[in-house]
């Protein structure tokens, strides 16, 4: 009977075969025991050019090429090691001072042990990748010695020995072998093999063994220019920094139960609100709750407790001694957490050393001052009522990717950096890392466990290469949740059968003509931006025998084509608005309607909804009426054309005359509005010029303001206000109106204080009128743009205007703060805004043109519509701006121009510069100013930042500066962005 059992001693290979056994735990908590073979060998070279024996047996690849030897035969020496030396750092040395090894002045001839490489890889993939980069660089002479495969340097873990101790011993063993091995070469000057470690225990043992060993600091001091390198060694030098991971330790506090939160909110102990993240500091959030006049600050990862921007959360206010000022420092997630490893399950504590350091500076600052009034209440998140997670567009953080994953189809964990800076990076497990690197990808967040520092998500789809127009545009649309798919067939079925051949029926008996006024004889024209295809509005004016004027605003009659509650109406109500991007328009309604049948094109008859006033020459309304009509526009002017004709005195035809009348009236209307306290606000607006053939952006122009623009604007405002009154009168409960709340005074505190301190100007905010007046006084005689700058900053303090249903608010709340109007709605752009379409239907019902459709009377339905279009409206604006920003970046590509800019925000480690020429603002960080980062003194009282050291500048708020604007591609992220470099202060 034969037995399979055999004695291992009989195997001749036994001595050189070992196995590596280790235990790993999977995500699901399962523990796996992995056994791997290890073949020990004696042909792994030392790679020193001094060694003849190793060179003879150097291994070759399949093509017979040997790997070159890297370690120099005459390595540099130090004061202690005059014969030259090879360095053998341990894992800690790399973990704590990778920057040091990347220096070009020292750290040559380094032996990287396999065991060290393995440990480093487990601790931090980015650092591992950097080290691999170093080993590939020819002049740094880094050699990876596979000590775990070499028979002489392989050691077995002893009983009772911890893994770390065993690895430290392996390092010492390798050092010992190297020294002995090199001693055998017949070289005259044998280099010393020096172990570098920051672990005292390890150093002690090495010295006992008679090995050359020193700590990083000791070693650096031996170098010639060691002094300045010393700064790069981290301060935490107390023994081993390796913290063993404690299993089952949760990183974040648990959420309260729903009922506990509810009772807390009811009792006023807890507060509920929407969580917002500061765009400059990812560790700072704020939440506005009714109980506090100022918004509550939420500082730090632990207090934010897994809330993501936009979530509806419940917070608990912290005791008063923990109240703080909002941060004056820029903290970017990318910079702070760049060395984290997505693979390991969060070693160490919740708040990493770097993050703690970043926040520490903050605390120091707040403690050093006695600014009672500035402190803001702080809070911590205790629960999330509703997640507002959506799909996020981002890209894979290249440094978080392991080498093998870049190639293989092995499942790997990587970080995705969302485009939106307010969203934390997302951990993603994917098998197709290789394909996804360098692509714009769409991901969703799935969960954020208590045990995981970052939320986990999954890959949805790839949008294409980074920086390509198609991918970036789609990314933009997705990021702002714009519906951009083609209209479905059910929607297209709702269009008139005649298609582009549709005409206003010739016979007045046609049902289309019912109750329509024939205004075809009037001299109507439209004035729009160049190239406008969806013409919503047209105007006319004519003198009346009484000396008054008849003025008409004619709006495309979209409600005639889009019947309530059909598929097209539903689609439009979901889309909410047309989105204008630089090179693209995402329509709310199908093209056929938007650019043809509804559009009030010149020379053809079109259905319209007209508002007709009789105005005195002083622009007082004598009477007004609303009617559905048929018009025929005489001409479609662009703003520029109209302006030229109006200014040209030789132009005397009726159409131009009537435009002049309108112009005169509009100026009076505007004056009235201003007297009532309307604000003239500002935002930096630019236009991207495209090359007509390739539609590549070539230049950026600031938008000019023309009188004809305010002409159209004034009459549109007048029409909107008139319609708002009418529909509110007819439907006091369900009229769709638009309001703009008065901003809380505290919003202006910061700006008012800044103005007072820096310019000695007072900003009064009691009413819109007072604000408008004080904004007018905010001028700097030397700097005409200063006023605009203040207006831009004031605009940012405002609330957002919103649509609402009249039944949900009391009449005084209807007020439109910015326009200083008691009541307001949107009526004049039904082709591109759904709100206007609803207003059209309500007005049609109010003038008894048609029966009231239930959908425009149901308050619940209208509230839902309002909520949706408010969101869509804001997203459309943001998408438009982001599109401009992208194209401005593209237009600047490869160019570098010096531009004037203004400092509009200042931090203790950087400042934000607005360049009006391009309408862009960008952060200039101190560390971009000079290398190494200059030290800075920030005076929060006077908003002044003074730097010293490597570069000395002094900048203050509102200061005019010169900056170099370039585009730059971030190598690690593949994102192209505008970069500003500080040139000089004026």
């Amino acid at each position: 009977m034969a037995s399979i059992k055999r004695s291992l001693d009989s195997d001749p290979l036994q001595a050189s075969i070992s196995s590596k056994v280790y235990v790993r735990s999977t995500k699901s908590g399962k523990v796996q025991k992995i056994v791997r073979e290890v073949y020990l060998r004696q042909d792994i070279p030392c790679s020193s050019k001094l060694c003849r024996t190793c060179q003879k047996m150097a291994p070759t690849d399949s093509a017979g090429r040997p790997i070159p030897f890297v370690l120099s035969e005459a390595p540099a020496g130090t004061s202690v090691y005059p014969n030259g030396h090879y360095l053998v750092p341990d894992t800690n040395a790399f973990l704590s001072a990778m920057d040091l090894f990347e220096q070009s002045s020292a750290f040559y001839d380094v032996v990287v042990l396999q065991i060290v490489l393995e440990e480093l890889r487990n601790r931090s993939l980015p650092l591992y990748n950097r080290l691999i980069g170093l080993t590939k660089s020819e002049d740094k002479r880094f050699y990876v010695f596979f000590n775990e495969f070499r028979l002489e340097t392989y050691i077995n873990r002893l009983e009772g020995e911890s893994v770390n101790d065993r690895n430290d011993r392996a390092v010492r063993q390798a050092v010992a072998w190297y020294s002995e091995h090199l001693a055998r070469t017949s070289a005259g000057k044998v280099p010393t093999v020096v172990m570098l470690s920051n672990d005292r225990e390890n150093l002690k043992k090495a010295k006992k063994q008679g090995l050359a060993a020193c700590s990083l600091a000791e070693y650096v001091r031996q170098l010639k220019d060691g002094e300045h390198l010393l700064d790069m060694i981290p301060e935490t030098e107390d023994g081993d920094m390796i913290k063993e991971k404690k299993p089952n330790e949760f990183l974040y506090p648990e959420y309260f139960s729903m009922s506990k939160m509810m009772t807390g909110v009811k009792g006023g102990v807890l507060h509920q609100g929407t969580f917002n993240v500061s765009p400059y500091n990812y560790l700072e959030g704020s939440i506005r709750v009714p109980a506090f006049p100022k918004s509550l600050l939420i500082l730090g990862r632990e207090n934010i407790n897994r809330a993501v921007d936009g979530d509806l959360v419940v917070v608990e206010v912290l005791p008063k001694d923990q109240w703080k000022e909002p941060s004056t420092q820029v903290i970017e997630e990318e910079a702070v957490t760049k060395d984290e490893n997505p693979d390991t399950e969060e070693a160490g504590g919740l708040v990493t050393e770097r993050e703690r350091k970043a926040l520490q500076e903050e605390v120091k600052r707040t403690h050093s001052k006695t600014t009672e009034g500035h402190a803001q209440p702080t809070a911590k998140v205790v629960g999330v009522i509703k997640r507002n997670w959506r799909q996020y567009v981002g890209h894979i953080d290249q440094t978080s990717v392991s080498q093998s994953a870049q190639q293989g189809r092995k499942q790997d964990t990587v970080f995705v950096i969302p485009m939106d800076k307010k969203i934390p990076k997302i951990r993603l497990r994917t098998r197709q890392v290789a394909e996804l690197i360098g692509k714009r990808i769409l991901v969703t967040i799935d969960a954020w466990d208590r045990g995981s520092r970052h939320p986990t998500g999954h890959f949805v789809r790839s949008l294409g290469e980074l920086e390509t127009k198609a991918a970036e545009t789609e990314a933009l649309l997705l990021e702002y949740d714009v519906q951009y798919r083609p209209f479905p067939k059910t929607v297209l079925d709702c269009l008139p059968k005649e298609g582009h051949d549709w005409k206003v029926p010739a016979s007045m008996d046609d049902p289309g003509w019912r109750d329509r006024e024939d205004l075809r004889h009037l001299g109507i024209c439209s004035i729009d931006p160049i190239g406008c295809q969806d013409i919503d509005d047209a105007l006319h004016a004519r003198p009346l025998p009484s000396g008054n004027y008849e003025v008409g605003v004619h709006i495309a009659d979209v409600s005639h084509f889009v019947r309530p509650n059909n598929a097209m109406d539903m689609e439009a109500s979901i889309r909410g608005t047309t989105v204008y991007l630089v090179d693209k328009r995402i329509d709310m309604l199908p093209m056929l309607l938007g650019t043809d049948l509804c559009s009030l094109k010149p020379y053809v008859e079109r259905y319209a909804f007209s508002v007709l006033w009789e105005l005195t020459p002083d622009a007082d309304i004598v009477n007004m009426r609303f009617t559905k009509s048929v018009i025929k526009s005489r001409e479609a002017f662009s703003y520029e054309q109209a302006q030229l004709k109006v200014d040209d005195a030789s132009q005397q035809d009726d159409l131009i005359k009537s435009i002049r009348v309108l112009m005169a009236l509009s100026k009076k209307l505007k004056q009235k509005r201003m007297d009532a306290g309307a604000l003239s606000l500002s935002s930096p607006e630019v236009k991207v010029q495209m090359e007509s053939e390739t539609s590549d952006p070539i230049d950026v122009k600031t938008k000019q303001h023309l009188d004809t623009m305010s002409l159209v604007e004034e009459f549109m405002l007048l029409a909107n206000v008139s319609v708002a009154r009418k529909i509110y009168e007819a439907f006091p409960q369900t009229a769709l109106l638009r309001r703009h709340g008065a901003p809380p005074k505290t919003n202006f505190d910061e700006l008012a204080n800044q103005l007072r301190v820096k310019k000695g100007l007072e900003l009064s905010v009691e009413s819109s009128r007072a604000l408008a007046d004080s904004l007018d006084t905010c001028v700097d005689p030397k700097e005409p743009f200063f006023n605009t700058l203040i207006r831009i900053m004031a605009t940012r303090c405002m609330m957002a205007a919103e649509y609402f249903c009249s039944g949900t608010q009391a009449y005084p709340e209807f007020r439109h703060y910015g326009l200083a109007s008691e009541i307001y709605t949107h009526f004049t752009s039904p082709i591109r805004r759904y709100a206007d379409l609803v207003a059209h239907r309500q007005l049609a019902a109010a003038i008894e043109y048609e029966a009231v459709h239930p959908s425009v009377r149901s308050r619940g339905r209208l509230e839902a519509v309002c909520k949706n279009i408010n969101v869509r409206h804001r997203n459309a604006q943001l998408a438009g701006r982001a599109s401009i920003a992208f194209y401005v970046g593209q237009a600047l590509r490869g160019k570098a121009t010096q531009e004037d800019g203004f400092i509009m925000k200042i931090f203790s480690n950087g400042f934000v510069v607005l360049v009006p020429r391009f309408g862009i603002e960008s952060l200039v960080r101190l560390r971009d100013l000079a290398e190494p980062e200059p030290t800075a003194e920030y005076d929060a009282e006077t908003y002044t930042l003074t730097t010293s050291g490597s570069r000395e500048i002094k900048v203050e708020l509102f200061q005019k500066v010169k900056v170099l604007v370039t585009d730059q591609k971030d190598e690690t992220t593949g994102k192209r962005g505008v970069k500003m470099e500080f040139v000089k202060a004026y």
Binding site: M1, A2, S3, I4, R6, D11, L13, I17, S19, K20, Y22, R24, K30, Q32, K33, I34, V35, R36, E37, V38, Y39, L40, R41, I44, P59, T60, D61, S62, A63, I67, Q114, L117, E118, R121, N122, I132, T135, V144, F145, F146, E148, F149, S402, Q403, S404, Q406, Q407, G408, R409, K410, A434, E435
Partner: protein
């Protein structure tokens, strides 16, 4: 966790310390089960399989054969090679049960059956069945290759006439399809980790010839690299044949020494000391 396969380029060492053209340790035994007609036990690294051959014998009652008459056996009056592979639940890291109808197992069985049927002289045994049972005790890559080698040894032990050893081995490449590195080294005899991360193929040859009996490649790899992989794989097969042959000869020598068999014809040239 140890390094992965991308570290190869650093010092031309694989994850387990081998060079590109080295086999893992192969250990094999034959006649491990006295009760069977032929048996073997084979280890390639940590991949451990055992094989039992019964037959050629009259087939048992077969299910599903229409008509019944005509006995068993393969078509055309040759012996049928029936292979069954059982993968033990404890053979891999995760305890996983593979059912009888598992597609991968079925594919393994068919591949082995076809490869052996071509080498065994099945025409000598019409209407009979050679049943080969393979048991996977431990898996660490190159499973198909190990199964083929074990089956060959067991067939030798069973004394079934065959043209030559059917010997198998895997080959891979040091960089993946996506990396598209033309200078990538071919690799011999992949372990589990390498198989997961790198493109690989399994090749079986007929003894020391270059005649390929099995070629299975399930990963994407550039055709230009395939040639190198195949060449390395075939040379690996030749090495495996040497090892298996040595095992058979050692066993024979041992048996003669013990007197289990008589020194007969054709064994003369064997040195028996």
């Amino acid at each position: 966790m140890p390094l992965d396969t991308s570290a190869y380029s650093l010092a031309l060492l694989r994850v387990d310390g081998r060079r590109w053209n080295e086999l893992r340790r192969v250990h094999a035994q034959i006649r491990t089960q006295a009760a069977a007609d032929g048996s073997s036990y084979l280890e390639m690294g940590h991949t451990k399989v055992m094989c039992v051959v019964n037959g050629p014998s009259e087939p048992g009652p077969r299910r599903g054969t229409a008509g019944g008459g005509g006995g068993g056996g393969g078509p055309g009056g040759v012996a049928e090679v029936a292979v069954s592979v059982v993968v033990a639940g404890f053979s891999s890291v995760d305890r996983k049960r593979r059912g009888r109808g598992d597609k991968r197992t079925l594919e393994l069985q068919t591949t082995i059956s076809n490869a052996l049927a071509a080498s065994l002289h099945t025409h000598l045994y019409p209407h009979s069945t050679i049943s080969i049972s393979l048991h996977v005790l431990s898996q660490d890559g190159s499973l198909l290759a190990a199964l083929i080698n074990a089956a060959t040894l067991a067939c030798v032990d069973a004394g079934i006439p065959m043209t030559d050893y059917v010997v198998a081995c895997t080959a891979g490449s040091t960089s993946t399809y996506a990396a598209n590195d033309e200078t990538a080294d071919p690799l011999l005899d992949l372990n589990h980790q390498e198989e997961q991360e790198l493109p690989s193929l399994t090749v079986a040859t007929l003894g020391e010839t270059d005649r390929v009996a099995v070629l299975v490649c399930e990963s994407r790899v550039q055709a230009s690299r395939l040639e190198g992989m195949l060449a390395v794989g075939v040379s690996g097969c030749h090495q495996v044949r040497e090892i298996l042959d040595q095992v058979v000869r050692d066993k024979g020598r041992h048996m003669i020494k013990e007197g289990t068999v008589e020194k007969g014809m054709g064994v003369e040239e064997m040195e028996v000391d």
